[in-house]
Amino acid sequence: MMSSIDLCVLCAAVLACLMVGSLHLRLNLWLYGAETLCIALATLFTAQSHSESGLIYIALLIAGLKAAGIPLFLGWTSEKLNVHRDVGAVIAPPLAMHLTIILLAFSFILTRGLPAPSMAASGWYGATAGISLLFTGLVVMLTRRLAIGQILGFLVIENGIYVFALTQTLGMPMLVEMGVLLDMLVGVMVSGLLVFRIQKSFEHIDVAQLTSLKE
C-alpha cells in the first residue's frame, strides 16, 4: 500500500523524466518547479507523519526558494541571454526520455536489494524515486549543451539526494537541511552569474565548445 509521501516523490520522479523529453528551457523550468513542489509536499506529509514542526518550515522554504525562486531566476537569466532552446547532445531528447523511464524501472529493481528502513517514513518507493532522480539528473547533464541545462541537471541530482535522505532516514537536523538549501541557492546564483560571464566572453553558453578556451 502506498502512502501519500510515496505518491508525491514518485510524481516528482515522473515529472523529472518528462523534463528530459523537451529542449525548451521554459518548459524544462516549469517541470522542474512542479517536480520540486511535489517534493515540498512530500516533506510536508513527512512532517505530519513524524509530527516534526521543523520539517514544515523546510517544506515552505523548498516551495518558496527551489520551486519558485530558482526557476524564476533561471528563466530571467535565459530571457536576458536570449536563449530559449537547448541544442541537445549525445542522444535525441525523446530517446533520452525513454532511457530515463527505463532507468526508473531499473532503480525500482535496484531498491529491492536495499534493506528496508524500519522506522523511516517511506521505504522502497522513496528510494526508487531518489535513485531515479539521480539517474535523471545525470541524463539531463549528458544531453544538454547549454550551461543552463547543466545547472538544471545538477539541481535534479540534488533533488534526488534530498528525496533519498528524506525517505530513508528519520529526517536530518533542520540546520543541516537549511544549510544545504542555502548552499544550493548560492550555487545556482553564482553559476547563473557565471553563465552571464561566459556569454559575455565567448558570445555563447555552449559548454561543448568551452574546451577551446585555452589559447
Binding site: G21, P93, P94
Partner: protein, 324 residues
Amino acid sequence: MTDANIHLLKICSDWILFVLCIVLVPPLCLGLIRKTKARLQNRVGPPLFQPLLDLLKLCKKGETISSTMSGTFRLSTVVVLATMLVLAWMTPWLSFKPWSPNADLFLIVYLFALARVFTLLGALDSGSAFGAFGASREVTLGLLVEPALLLGLVALGLFSGSSDLRLIFAYSHFQYLGATAVPGIWLLVGISILLSSLVELSRMPVDDPTTHLELTMVHEAMILEASGRNLAFIEFAHALRMSILFGLAAQCFVHAAAAVWCMSALTEGLLSIGGICVIAISVGVLESLSVKLQWRKVPEFVAYVVSMSLLAAFVAAGTGVARL
C-alpha cells in the same frame, strides 16, 4: 411471460441500444467537436447531428470516378467500413454491449492496422498525387503511434492477467491489487490512448482536419477522390474509429474512477457515453487553442505518448512484483 421470453427481450433491447449507439455516437462526436470550435469562435455553429444529415445527403448524391481506378478502390471502402463495424462490436468502448467474441488486444490493434492499410490502398489506387502524399504521411503516423497503443493495452493486460479486452475492461480486476497503483495505471493508459488517438485520427496537434491545403492534409488527402456514397461510407468509418478510440480512453478513465468509488451499471453506462462527449468537447477546445505541430516535431509529441505507455507498463509490472 416466461423467463426465456424475458431473456430474449433483454438480448433484443441490448442489441437495439448498441446499434443505436453505433449509428448515433460517431456523428454526435463530430458534431460536438464542430459545435465547440464554433462556439469558441463566437459562431452559432451547425446543429449537433449535422454530420449525420451530411452523411445521408452524400448517400443520395451521384459519384464521379477517376478512369485509372481499379476495383481496389471500391473494395477498400467496403473493407474499412466492415473492419470498423467488427471493431465496434468487439472492442469494449462502451460499458454495455451484447454478447461479443474473445477480443484479444493484439487482434484489436492489428484490425485497426488492417483498416489503415486498406485506406492506403484506396488512396494509392485513386491515381492522384495527393492520395500518395496522404498515404505516405499516414504510414509514418501509424508506425510512430502503434507502439504507444500496443504498450498501453499490454500494460492493462499485464496487471489484469489476461489479453482479452472483455476481461480487462470488466470492472472486476481491482479488488486484490495495491489500491493506489490501479487508478494510476488506468489514468496513464487513458491519457496514452487519448493522445495516440489524436495522432491516429490525424487531429489537431498533428494535423488540422479542417485544412484546405492539400499539401498538409493527411486523412483528407487520402479521400480526395472519393465522392457520393463511397465518401459517406469512408467518413462514417472514420467517425466510428474516432468514437471507438475515444470510447476506449473514456473507459480507462471510468475504470480509474470505479477503482476509487463504487458504481452501479447504469452510472457506468451513462459515464461511458458522457466520457466520449467530454473527450470530444475537450478535443474541440484543444483544436481551437493549439496550433499544428511542425511535421518534424511530431515524433517528439509521440515520444511523450510512448512514455505514458511505458510508465503504465512498468507500474503494472511493478505491482506484479510487489504482489509476489
